[in-house]
Subunit: 414 residues, 4 copies
Amino acid sequence: MTHSRTVELEGHIIDSGTMQRCFGAVMDLGGSFDVQQFDVGKHETEESYCRLTVSADDPETLRDILHELHQNGAVLEDPSEVDLVAAPADKVVPPNFYSTTNHPTEVLYDGEWIDVERIEMDCALVVDPGGDSGESPRAYTKTLNAVDEGDLVATDQSGIRVNPPERPRSGGGAFGFMQGGVSAERPSESTIREVAEELRAVKEDGGNVMVVAGPAVIHSGAGDALADLVAAGYVDALSAGNGFATHDLERSIYGTSLGMNVETLEHPRKGHKHHIWTISEIIRAGGIEAAVDEGIVTEGVMYECVVNDVDTVLAGSIRDDGPLPDTVTDAVEAQNAIREQAHDADLVIMLATLLHSVAVGNCLPSTTKTVCVDINPATVTQLLDRGSAQAIGMVTDIGTFVPTLAEFVLEGDA
Amino acid sequence: MTHSRTVELEGHIIDSGTMQRCFGAVMDLGGSFDVQQFDVGKHETEESYCRLTVSADDPETLRDILHELHQNGAVLEDPSEVDLVAAPADKVVPPNFYSTTNHPTEVLYDGEWIDVERIEMDCALVVDPGGDSGESPRAYTKTLNAVDEGDLVATDQSGIRVNPPERPRSGGGAFGFMQGGVSAERPSESTIREVAEELRAVKEDGGNVMVVAGPAVIHSGAGDALADLVAAGYVDALSAGNGFATHDLERSIYGTSLGMNVETLEHPRKGHKHHIWTISEIIRAGGIEAAVDEGIVTEGVMYECVVNDVDTVLAGSIRDDGPLPDTVTDAVEAQNAIREQAHDADLVIMLATLLHSVAVGNCLPSTTKTVCVDINPATVTQLLDRGSAQAIGMVTDIGTFVPTLAEFVLEGDA
Amino acid sequence: MTHSRTVELEGHIIDSGTMQRCFGAVMDLGGSFDVQQFDVGKHETEESYCRLTVSADDPETLRDILHELHQNGAVLEDPSEVDLVAAPADKVVPPNFYSTTNHPTEVLYDGEWIDVERIEMDCALVVDPGGDSGESPRAYTKTLNAVDEGDLVATDQSGIRVNPPERPRSGGGAFGFMQGGVSAERPSESTIREVAEELRAVKEDGGNVMVVAGPAVIHSGAGDALADLVAAGYVDALSAGNGFATHDLERSIYGTSLGMNVETLEHPRKGHKHHIWTISEIIRAGGIEAAVDEGIVTEGVMYECVVNDVDTVLAGSIRDDGPLPDTVTDAVEAQNAIREQAHDADLVIMLATLLHSVAVGNCLPSTTKTVCVDINPATVTQLLDRGSAQAIGMVTDIGTFVPTLAEFVLEGDA
Amino acid sequence: MTHSRTVELEGHIIDSGTMQRCFGAVMDLGGSFDVQQFDVGKHETEESYCRLTVSADDPETLRDILHELHQNGAVLEDPSEVDLVAAPADKVVPPNFYSTTNHPTEVLYDGEWIDVERIEMDCALVVDPGGDSGESPRAYTKTLNAVDEGDLVATDQSGIRVNPPERPRSGGGAFGFMQGGVSAERPSESTIREVAEELRAVKEDGGNVMVVAGPAVIHSGAGDALADLVAAGYVDALSAGNGFATHDLERSIYGTSLGMNVETLEHPRKGHKHHIWTISEIIRAGGIEAAVDEGIVTEGVMYECVVNDVDTVLAGSIRDDGPLPDTVTDAVEAQNAIREQAHDADLVIMLATLLHSVAVGNCLPSTTKTVCVDINPATVTQLLDRGSAQAIGMVTDIGTFVPTLAEFVLEGDA
């Protein structure tokens, strides 16, 4: 017996690849389709519309197909209201709960499509009905560990509309639209120039710039350039780890990073006591801000972040030495802090850290512009695959990238 | 002033991504389009048809756009005949000559669309008018260095139709359709099992299997397994280099590869005289076949290739020691030998060599199935990017891949 | 003015590279040396002895040189007692505290050299004087965050003797002695065979085997093979993260890993709701053990660990979804749990995870045998650089490595 | 029965690692040693001397051990004359011929130690006795394919003395002494500054600088910077391939590289007809120099090489399109041309090409300073492993490396 449903798609669905993905999904999953109507936008600025009926031999296959189409923006022809079920206990979601994508999403509640706030992927979708005192209903995401007993959690996918990003009608520049692969063979300085232009443009528009940085930024000698960008006001939030901060502070206190002087390259191999001494100095002072106040730390990225009131999150990890008193050692607490930064960001620049970049990427909606820089192509690929619509991936050396970026941004050379 | 032309596209142009690429190209290159007609195939088995007019502000932009559309299969609404110009001298093509893609191609000559033989990319397209004695006209590719004075070479792109591969309606299995990225995080043994199935299927259909192998196959200890596949008749052609052959022969003569015993791992570091001694032994014998005949070489891949009459090409390179007498040291001559192998192949398996794989890939039409295996993701990405329509890219260890493949193929475990 | 001190070195100090490193360190740091006595072991089994005076122009340089020599096993000619200072507050070490290496270490206390327990790098060295009730004095390491007010912490390096591992007189086999680089071009199956032999030998000797595993083990389809090794009693401790456990449990519950069926390779791209559903199922059950008890989880690595009472630590990280109730989200708490596992281990096998491998490696003495397997050469290099004396680094595909290892171990084929 | 021989070693044999390697080799290969005399240099400037007797149970093992010791500079206590055998035919060496290392080497002929000219690894060692007309005897290397019938070829290793490079007594700077591993985590700009200093120093001393460049130099947008270095006289020889030259010429003629404008990043994907058109233009002109003369090529690296009379070798490979008329398509002929360049070089800078770098590295003595730059750590490791004594390996982005280097060199900023 054949099971069928009819769905609709709308927008720049051809050149955004939506139709290709939808037709492909139906065939890959073993279903078939019947196009009821397809109005192709005649010009590049006109939207297209498609209504198609998909069929499968069993209801499970049909459900899987509809799930795929749903994630690509398809809505059932006659959408019903969102299906809400109360969470039975703290952290426990109802069976068959709806797990969010990172695309802008709406829910049909009480006859109206309302925007889901704080969209990010792999979350539960909770609706607050508003109520007596006249508040409007609201919908927002909640991570599993944040779900409270009684939260009204969306299940299945009825009454939920996903809006995947569309190919921009103009420009996009270096920010390729959902481009897949990453090649090291692109013109490096020209690409950095485009990042510099974007960084300046975002700040000129009053936007929020978040930098995610790994310790390699310091080891590779790029700390001064990043500190310059912070000092010049180009960084609103810094998301890093205990290692990044320690090596940056070590440079300020001892002039070395992992025991190597990054100017003279003198490297007392294995004599890396400086980083652990740095940590003990900061513990003794009571924290980074106190160490800056006491004049123990007088330069570097962390120094500039303190002095310029940059919103800084140091997230702990199991490979940390110390850790510094400022490091948030609980992963859930750290995630929540990162989440706040991520939701505020208009441009995220990820510098040579897979761990922190993935953590930040997990919290980002697909509409936030991101720049991912790493010398390992696999890292850049993994980050771009998370589905930001406007992303630059660059396989390059962080030790030359940041100084070149800073030069282009600060000397107006961009 | 606006310049316009109208083109047509036909086939599974939505789910193969053709329309997405065409609309994208027009916008990227600064033109605009006007869809005259768009008939969408109602079911997955029906083809679609699109006629659209593209416009640009200047003729150069329009030409660039049409070039892109052409490469994606678009043809001008009223195609004129192919525009042929005689080559003015050996190796010299006429200005504005047509450079081929690797997709199946036809030319409109004397009122008929004729298939272009021996299609491969970046070649000149030569038409032989046939003639007096009643032969039909023929069209084929020629590399630049093979062009003879007087050859009738196609120029511009009028009268030429490109047929990019379409998404297969069913299956494809592990051979993803023009998939972009490459991930190391795929189930290895299951993927190898699919390659084994394909290899057996191709041989059962009487197909031709070409193996392209780098020296790492031998260093990694996979030589025996490859020799077993050759001995069992699964390899019709071997394309390799002087290094591969030398290290394989070294194993037969001295039991080592680059001086290391691949069984016991004993490795007289820097005592790598064996490979140069091997070369001198083969030179003394007069070549590999002679060395096999004399009983100097008694096992290994080269031995099995000699004994089983496998079509073998050893292409020279500037990093070769020796070289062996069997190595073709002239690059053009070697390319031509590789070209013959490539045009005969139904399945090409590329094992841990970028140089030879690119050389082979350059000669392949986009319709030949290929498997690319390397431990470096950048190598696999580069090979897949050459545009084979049905390709498996695998980031894995050649030293475990080949033995596992041989086990699945030979023990019927696939 | 010249500042000088005389130090002694003893053991297999030539072929272990100790003398090369010591002479090199003096020259690199700008000092000079005067060999007072050098008795070279006449045979390979005889130890050598060297007494040398090092000089520098200023006391700081001399101190740096002595620090380097100390870390390579040199002791001052007339060693004084260890210099202990009470920690002024919890987590606060005295200035100039001694930061440990990962080599076996002794302290001279009360006239006797006593072994430092639980040696690991970058820790404080605390001496417990024993005392009234007749206990002997003890020395042990403490991480900075574990230091309590009043702990007697070693400062400087007087009275401390480091014993770097020496080149083994016989064998070592695949476990190369402090080998630096990592090459992908080694015979893969032979190397895996050596690991298998070592694994069996350690278990036959009643040793403790610790496996550190990343999620790629599951994605690459190697989960069943690892589960088999656990079931057969070859794994005493598992150190992994929330991701590894989630994907393993997803396989048991849904038959997929990250939404892909690792047998059939069917992959509902982006339809990766299974992993988050898995987490919610386990939360609902109350944890992994409960889920096993309830029959929700019936196979896989985690299942075998529960059933076979394997000591399991799931350490949290900021990129975790969920997390599972079993995941230790606090980094310091997780480190302490990992530390217990690491100190018990006789053989550590690190499978495709940089984060967890570094965390474990940080806790290991240099004498523990380790095997590091990853497809990224940079990861393997980084892990080997941490200075285990007996380590195998292998750049290979985890998806073929684990099944091949399991086959060699379980079928007695090693 | 025990077989023994006594050998001598001299020089800075402890801190250069020679003794460590020799003792290790004896033990690894299953022999034993008896130190007869060991005079350790008392100060860092004094040389050491060691005489030791090595023994093994069979003559084969002893021979293998002696081979290893020989390659590390050991000589038999009472060396006999070099053992010469006439080559029986062109390209055919006598059995058991001596295969050279890349270290400075001497032969004992007619009672005198004479230097081997044009030392490079894996060659035959030929002695020309000089003779009647009073010429002195000479010794030099010959590749196997260059050996002529009757050449007097050294066999075994008697009468041959190898002088592996020793750790320099002072400095060396960034040019680490035979350092093994390669890390991406070094301060990039400081390292580039050291390369710039070395480049300027070599030119100030009238030295010869050879640049080996791959096509990524052009794709990554670094062509202008390299052209600037050539124009300023910092490059004496360029060793590259057909691809490098084609993409550089394409930039001059069409403003693109592989079809991408490296300034504006506009990239007509797949519209890469420019490179094949470039080749046809150069063929039509008759070669690169002719194209420069005719004003077809007016800028770029090849242009500057022509105008500044830089010794340029374009070596062909099987992946070439075209090729250009200037490309040497025969591998042996190309090797010989590269060999001439390599033997003249005082500093070799290898930029983003494995193939050409290995080819050049094969011809270099171990005493030539080399800089290897690539974004792939495996490439840099492979190049450094070839045993240059003074080498910098840098894992970085060629697209930022060359411009930064040019800036430091040309603006005197080094």
